[in-house]
Symmetry: C2
Subunit: 335 residues, 2 copies
């Protein structure tokens, strides 16, 4: 892969220009461009620069409505149900995270369930958004079916990413993970390199677990984390996203021509309302200090808390530019 | 293992008598006995009859205070902080689940964070309790340190069980899982049978993953589900339980002579408050029907949703009695 580096501001400007060329208003183009550029800046290229072309394609096909905004359909105290009206998933998710924080500001905790929305790209970004304002964040999305239940030969579950974040030292600790052990993007990349996966990542045609990426891409049956455990968690996350938002379930998403109209949940907690607020940062620091005080299997590979890498990558990419495959970047420039 | 079957009512009566002999009031003994007998009735023997002797032991050692009850320390709208005063963990957890439902009844959703409590035994039972009353349940507990972070040689994380439940057809769909791939009880039982684990369940002394139960018991380093993913989830669950309850973290629990004073979170949602309440049951049924419509790897092993087995086992054990190892039952009778 021929990589070079594109400055953050350049990437944002290019994305905005492409989006304006394809039917986005200046303001919507600016907002969406910022999300894709910022996800890239923080090192989540798969849901940044490398996902941008598909976002444009989905807009051109009408799956994403550039001008649509979320609407409240029902309020029940500290939980609200909204529809995303098929607007850009990142803007809908960011809006609903803010709305959940407003509810939590008044009620200690708040929940927004959002149906009829689109791919939120990088779930972790909403946890960072909430954490930077002092809120705990718990959220998840459903997806189309791409993972088998335990004992199943067909993928009837989504890999339904779950995100949990807490504020810490003006940054955040953010866990953002899908229910398949590896993303299909990672499996594809491993195949291209001619390598094996480090752990069994899915099933082959003989229903055996395998580290061979080619075999997994033939079945499209990635293994759930923890086998039956991740499969169960995926099912429950889909049920909750669906019933809380009055939205579509994974099985309904997979009957469409593409993945649009997904269901999501955003829960926030306002830490400032808690009795122990002044000591929370120290409490987290003590946990992280102990976590890091372990003996290591590889002395030069320290244990990392979720999200730890982000701060470093963000700074590197701000300094040196965002690494991009030149072929893909040229394709974007030509859009 | 020589097993015979003890009727549910007999088991409950025996447990109550033992507890009354060891300092429990009639009413507290009745409540605790019911929990241990009912967990056994539903097939969760590890946190029913086989855990009962340790519960008595912990009470005699003063780790569990039979008469202590939960007290509210802070209220912030839909989230409350309580202390369990080191009372029986099951009674504290059941109380706080009910309290979270009361809050959700008034606010749509509710959260109780509980510090200074004890082992809740079977986390799933609180999800069943909530689901039977029409509430979604999301809850977790921290534990002492018994699982390594990814890349760590020492166990600095708890296996922190996470429980999610939804009401369905007068029963419930309930996921209840710890962050280690296998419980140490399962690993121990596999060793006694002279077998290997079905999947790699932990690390040996050379820091290699192994299916050999003896090797894992030597290191006490069970593998997290999904490797780095389950380790990350465990860390976040501990941080949240600790800061929301103002309670102890896993690293603090492990500095004590035994695991007591754990931290827990109970979140509930009142489905009756949602706009789509009348259609929720059908929506879940459609998800489960699709889930079960898959081709199977082993045609005689259907896929099961979490908690599905419980209803069948409960009925079998009601009909025929609860299967118990005779030696352990005799030990309980002599307590």
């Amino acid at each position: 892969m021929k990589e070079f580096r594109v400055p953050y501001e350049t990437m944002k400007t290019v994305f905005q220009q492409v989006l304006q060329k394809h039917g986005f208003s200046t303001e919507k183009a600016r907002q969406c461009a910022k999300v894709f550029a910022y996800n890239s800046l923080e090192g989540i290229y798969s849901h940044g620069v490398y996902r941008f072309p598909r976002f444009v394609e989905y807009t051109l096909k009408g799956f994403v409505k550039p001008d649509a905004v979320p609407e409240k359909i029902h309020s029940a105290g500290a939980i609200e149900q909204w529809t995303g009206n098929l607007g850009p998933g990142m803007l809908n998710a960011s809006f609903c995270s803010n709305r959940a924080m407003e509810i939590a500001h008044n009620n200690g905790l708040g929940c927004v369930a959002l149906g009829n929305t689109n791919h939120w790209m990088r779930g972790g970004s909403y946890a960072w958004q909430a954490a930077k304002q002092g809120y705990v964040f718990i959220g998840w999305t459903n997806t189309e079916q791409n993972m088998p239940a335990w004992g199943a030969k067909q993928s009837k579950l989504g890999n339904n990413p779950l995100v949990i974040g807490v504020p810490w030292k003006n940054e955040a600790i953010v866990l953002d993970f899908a229910m398949t052990q590896f993303s299909y993007g990672k499996i594809e990349a491993t195949k291209i390199k001619g390598e094996q996966l480090p752990f069994e990542g899915g099933f082959n045609r003989e229903d055996q677990l395998t580290k061979n990426p080619q075999e997994i891409l033939e079945t499209m049956r990635g293994v759930p984390i923890g086998y039956w455990k991740g499969a169960g968690l995926s099912l429950l996350l889909d049920i909750l996203a669906t019933i809380l938002s009055a939205g579509l379930s994974s099985h309904q998403l997979s009957r469409q021509e593409a993945e649009y109209g997904v269901s999501q949940v955003f829960i926030t907690i306002d830490l400032k309302k808690l009795s122990n607020y002044p000591s929370i940062e120290n409490s987290i620091t003590a946990i992280i200090d102990d976590f890091k005080s372990t003996q290591l299997i590889h002395p030069d590979s320290p244990v990392k808390y979720p999200g730890e890498r982000v701060v470093k990558v963000r700074q590197e990419n701000l300094n040196w530019g965002i690494p991009v495959d030149k072929t893909i970047w040229n394709k974007i420039l030509a859009m």
